[in-house]
Structure formats: C-alpha cells, structure tokens
Symmetry: C2
Subunit: 267 residues, 2 copies
Amino acid sequence: MSARILSASVLIPVVLLAIYLGGWFFTLALAVLVVLGQIEFFEIVRRKGYRPTENLCLGLSLTLLAIQQLYPQLANGAFVLAGGLVCVSLLFRRQPPATISDMATSLLGLFYTGYLPSFLVQLRALDGLGYLLLLTFACIWASDIGAFFFGKAFGRTPLTPISPKKTVEGAIFGTTASILVGLAGAALLGWSLWPLTGVVFGLLVGVSGLLGDLTESLMKRDVGLKDAGNLIPGHGGILDRADSYIFTAPVAFYFIDFIVLGRLPLP
Amino acid sequence: MSARILSASVLIPVVLLAIYLGGWFFTLALAVLVVLGQIEFFEIVRRKGYRPTENLCLGLSLTLLAIQQLYPQLANGAFVLAGGLVCVSLLFRRQPPATISDMATSLLGLFYTGYLPSFLVQLRALDGLGYLLLLTFACIWASDIGAFFFGKAFGRTPLTPISPKKTVEGAIFGTTASILVGLAGAALLGWSLWPLTGVVFGLLVGVSGLLGDLTESLMKRDVGLKDAGNLIPGHGGILDRADSYIFTAPVAFYFIDFIVLGRLPLP
C-alpha cells in the first residue's frame, strides 16, 4: 500500500500538469502511456503464442495520436486505413506465415490500446483549460476509490469470475460515486439540462471505466497473469492503471461533443 | 467454368441494377452480401476453435450499414462504439469464459467483413448515377480478369505462398489493367489532373483489391480450406468473390472524396 501511495504522489501531479498544459504536452504524455500499454498488451498476447505485428501497431498508434492532435477530423478515416494496413502487413510474413489470430490480435491491439485512448486528445481539446477532461478523470477516480473502499467494507456478492476481487456492492457504489461527481461537475460547468446530462455522463463514465477494467482482466486471466506488468511500484503495469480510461475516452468525448455541446452532426 | 459463367450471368445484372438504383436498394443488396460474408468469416474462425460473438457482430454490421445510408457523418464514431461493445459483450460470457482470441476475432469480423465494405454505401452516394462506384468496380474487374488470363498465359514466378495460383506476372498485369481503366474513367468523368488522379486511383484499387484477396486467402490457409464456402456455383463462397472489394471500399471512397472532389477536411 505504501509503494502505491508513493507512486501515486509522483504520478498525480504529472497527470494534472499534462492536463493543465494541454496541446502537445498532453499528447506526448499520453503517447508515453499508449506505447507502454501497447507493449504490455502485446506481451500478454505473445504468451498465448500469437505473433502480432507489434512495431507497425506502435508506429500507427503514435501516428493516430499525432493526427488526433493536428487534424482530429481525419482521425477516424485514418484509423480505417491503419487497421487495413495492419491486416495486409501480415500477408508479407514468411516462416511461418501469419495466422488469423496474429491478424486479429494486432487489430485488437491497435484498436484497444492505441485508437480508443487517442480520443483523450480530442477530449482535452474541447475546452481551453481542460475542465472537461479533468471532470472525466474525476468520475473515474471517484468510481475506482468508491468501489475499492465500499467494496472492501460491504462487498459480499462477487461481480464476475473474471475479476474475483470485484463485488456487485463495490460496482454499484463506485458507479454512484461517479454519478455524484458527474452531477457536481455538470452543475459547476453549467451544462444545459445539467441534472440529466450530469447523471448520464457520470453513469456512462462509471460503467465504461468498469468495463475497460474487466476487459483487461479478461485478457490477463486468459494467459494466467495477475498483473499486466510491474512498471509502477504497487500499481502493477500501465494497463492495470490505464484500463479504466480506454473505453471511457471515446464515450466521454462523443457524449460531451454531441450531446452536451450540441454538435451532433445531423443534417 | 460453365457453372462460373452461368452464375456470373445472373449476378452481374443484379449488381448493375443495385448500383444504378442506389440509395436503400444498393444498401440492402450490400447488406445481404455483408451478412453472408460475415457468416462465412465466423465459420472460418470457429474452425480454429475460437468462439466469436457472431450475432452481435451481425446486428452491429447491419446497424453500421444503415448509419452509412442515413447519417454517413456518424459512421466512424459509430464504429468506435460498436467495436467497444463487441469487446465488452464478451465479458458476460460464462462456461468457459471468453478468451483474447474470441474478442480479437470478433473485432476483426466486425472490421473486415462489416465496417470496411460499408464504405461502398458512401462511395455510391457520392454521385447521382453511381458512375464513381461503377468505375471502382470496373477497376477491380479489370484487375481480376487481367491477372487471371495473363497469369494463366505468362505467369511463371509465384507471388506468395499464401495463394499458390497467383503469379507476379498476373499481379503486375492485373494492376496495369486497373490503372488503364482508372485512366479511362478519370478522363471520361473529367477528374481534375485526370492523368495523375486516374493512374493513382487505378493503382490504389488494383493493389487494395489484390491485398483483400490475399487477406482472405491467408485466413482460409490458416484453417486448411480451399474455398470459404460454396454458395455460388463455380465461385466458391461469398468471401471468395467479395474479398477484393473489402479494402478497396474505404480506399476508393476516401481517395475520391478527399483528393478528386477536393473535400479533405483540413482547417
């Protein structure tokens, strides 16, 4: 626990500074996490005997991050082409030739550890001071902390065999904490229809964070690992810390951009 | 060969009619192909022992096709959320729990046999009469026919162990045929800088068609199959016929929309 707190006290100020500075500062800080997380993902996958096209995925993930920063309106089209490139790159592998799993896990790596988190760049760029990104992170933190302490004290019912330590009580309380933070944030930021949009935002972030967490647990469980890595003392690997942010990134971005800011591009 | 010609003489008028009518007619005709192709893909994948989330992928692929028709500007964001849904849906599978491969092949199925071909809907919608889609198809047909006959007559050098019948000579001549058709089409349609844009378009379509073809061969080879199915007499399965169109769809759409029509959304 003390290693955990020590690591957090170094990392949290760095994260807050990157959010505050925004722009390329934030994108570069995120790029470090994306690269480390993707390397961990491919380590997990290689333990199953698959041979994904790791270097190409890393290069394409960094390219997608740069595109999210420079030309966000091109990011989705760029992913389509990047995903196609990943598939066809495996055609040129000999001895032994690539398999369906090599191709599928390469695409999953690009999507899950590269493309999904890249939406944090667009989320940061939505406002000048990073309040929207900070609110998203605050919801995730509230959900994690709420689920951890409440689950420890009152958790009885196991949530899923994938992640034996999680309880239904913890998940419910974590999501409630995320909703309360979402509600407070929506009121402070003066979102239109704030009681409704705040609750929905907190719910979406809480649930997508939990699902991201469980997705990584499923992957680790499949290869019989406890932690994805041991990079941060007391916290396991990067993916063990960053998994909650992965699905949340596009969900929070599209909800705020389309619904809260009213920029749903309908004709 | 005669079953092949008979099937073609029924299918080609249907394809031409769907292209001519456009709109929902085209989207529905494509939806039939997408569903059949995706079922074949998942049959291939199940032969490797993986258990992808087939019904969800089919439902999401049809939804993505409908979104390409109704709100094309939302299609890319919808794919991000659909891909996320596919991943998290596997969290709820018990006995035995889902594996990384189940998740990765589900995502590959959604991407390769659902999302990539859905760009044909946007390609058809670019002009009123379907000339741009017809030109794309004409390039693929020229490439296929050119590679087949020239490869048969002069092919000596094997192209790749993935697909033993393909030769370097066939691939070069097929791509040349695609470039010639692209050049003619660009001249007829009066594309700006037509000699350049026509050659690049023909090259992109020829190469992406060949790569789509080889990608499907890689998958079949991985499970020891000759044809992906036996739906069309003399033509193998749907994927055996449709594989050339899969990567070509987004490549042709983005090239025409961004470069030829000059709608690259840069600030």
